[in-house]
């Protein structure tokens, strides 16, 4: 069984991630919220419009589970 979860960083969010990846796979330890995980990756919660898990919205206090695919969408503040 997969003990990791995946974060898909949409739009320009990959640019903030330290390794400049658009998909990040991390172990699901159950000890950190999305806000903390994204913060560790260099992504500020204020840059995020929403996070989707299986098409449904979750908030930044969500703790990712093993096998979960999370899509992170940025706020758009240009154009």
């Amino acid at each position: 069984m997969n003990s990791c979860f995946r974060l898909w960083l949409r739009g320009h969010l990959w640019r903030y991630e330290k390794g400049r990846r658009s998909c990040v796979e991390l172990p699901a330890n159950g000890d950190k919220t999305l806000r903390e995980i994204l913060g560790d990756l260099g992504i500020d919660g204020e840059d995020i419009m929403m996070v989707l898990s299986r098409g449904k919205r979750v908030d930044l206090s969500h703790v990712p589970e093993a096998g979960e695919d999370l899509e992170v969408l940025p706020i758009i503040d240009g154009g």
Binding site: R10, G11, M50, P74, I75, I76, G78
Partner: protein
Amino acid sequence: MNFGFWGFMWDVDLARREVRLLEVPPEDARKYFGGSGLGAKILLEMLDGGLGPLEPDSPLIIAGGLLTGTKVPTACRTVICGRSPLTGIWGESTAGGFFGAALKSTGVDGLLIRGKAENPVYLLITDGRVEIRDASHLWGLDTFETDEALKRETDRRAFVCAIGPCGERLIPMASVIFEGRHARAAGRCGFGASMGSKNLKAIVVRGRKRIPIRHPEALIASVKGSIPSIQKSAKSLMTFGTPGGVEAVEAHGDLPIANWTGGSWPEGAKAISGRTNLPKYFSGHYACFACPIRCGKSIRIEGGPFGDVLSHQPEYETIAGFGANLLNANYELIAVANERCNRYGIDTISASSAIAFAMECCQRGVLRPEDLGGVEPRFGDPKAILTLLHKIANGEGIGEILGRGTREAARILGPLAHEFRTDVKGLEMAYHDPRAFTCMAVNYATANRGACHLESLSYFLGRGIPLPDMGYYEPPDPHADEGKAKIAFDLQNFMAVFNPLGLCKFLMIGRVGPSQIAKWLELATGWEVDQGELLQVGERLFNLKRMYNCRLGVSRKDDSLPPRFLTHPRPDGRAKGVLPHLGKMLSQYYELRGWDREGIPTKERLVELGLSWSLEP
């Protein structure tokens, strides 16, 4: 005494070479504000449906907003309004920069221009004075050259708005460019052709008067207090300008791709994004008058494959239009197309839409390469993009038809071409997809100047920008239909005060709501104004412009979207499979507006809004 505005406009008759001062009653300023609000009132009173937009007597207003030139953040906008040569109905187009503040510092709020000069002329407006000067030597120059020549000939510190060759040729999508190379564009609606039809090449302003403010110290204190939060909220806009959002727009399924037929294009979006390109080509920041956001960026491209560029960076709309919508991932090409559009004086949205339309017409056999003078316009082909742009700007061959806009081009090219049109009421869609944010469907369908995103900016809510003053805290479901008519209604009423006040709509990105704007208006003018009154003026002005259009035959039959936005879902990406149910939303919207089933404002609602006079022919 008036505060915040002067209460006077110049009434300029170019045919008779007469100039007189037109007084604006203070009660009109309170009821309609200035800019396109007061403009709509004056122009509706003057409206003669039998008078085409390019006929000499068709009036044109160029004005600052009520607060333009004051210290209120972003109070810089200049508006041009009249009957649009592109759409034939109400038109307004605004530009930032310094021109509006400079115009108001001459002691007037704006200009009403009518008649056609016998020969090309320009207007020189200084403190309390208007000169109609010969412009024969400028005719044929592009907008950057005209700006330079006029500053040399008048005053290096003057500000200039000018038309280029497209306006002179009366091309219906011609723009008016402010401040030359800085290229602040009043792009939409074709007012470059309106100026061209009057033989009016340019307007030069240089003033030294200070606009009186009712509570100057309190206004400055309030403005200073707001700047840190505006800058914090708009930090991406400050850093990258509007193109910083390209990849995020793509991720939301909002970016137009291949004349709106595509669904996702992440690698292309990355290639054309301001975040990729600005660091390579950045040459300086540019801030409009009184703006703490400073979203303008200058770029320098030397030795590029399509030529050099030393100008303003292409804005988001231009990048979307000449990039994604043409499947062109080459930023240098977009920058060159942008500079050429600005020099020619042509709207980048309508021009790029017309090119995308031609490409799809060719792909589907409606046009053949021989119809295009041997060009085979394939999506993504740089040579075809620049060749078609050249043809449109010069009115050559197929370019003459495309320059009339996609509605008129489809009428000429035949029934199948209507499938590829991307206009509402003759104005090409701004580059935000109503299938990605369905609130935009009802907005585009009802916006007074046609498919304009700025008349509601309701997609900002869908993108995660809140508006707590109006009860919007969380982003609504972007794809659902429920509640979207109300969002369009609310946001249109709010946005309807920006051009009349002379403010930039990016204040919303800075999280400035109507209560803050009402406060600044109160401090500047001394009027007791609250959010309720501000939004009521917005509703009044939206209805006033609707009445202008109704007089020209607009009704529910015109409140629709181009076919593909109602029938062809995006094939992939985040907005995959979504189609807005416009009919349902439109009925809800009419009810909120107090319009009848055909989309005509009811007498009762017009009376409530103080607009009963607009019913009289």
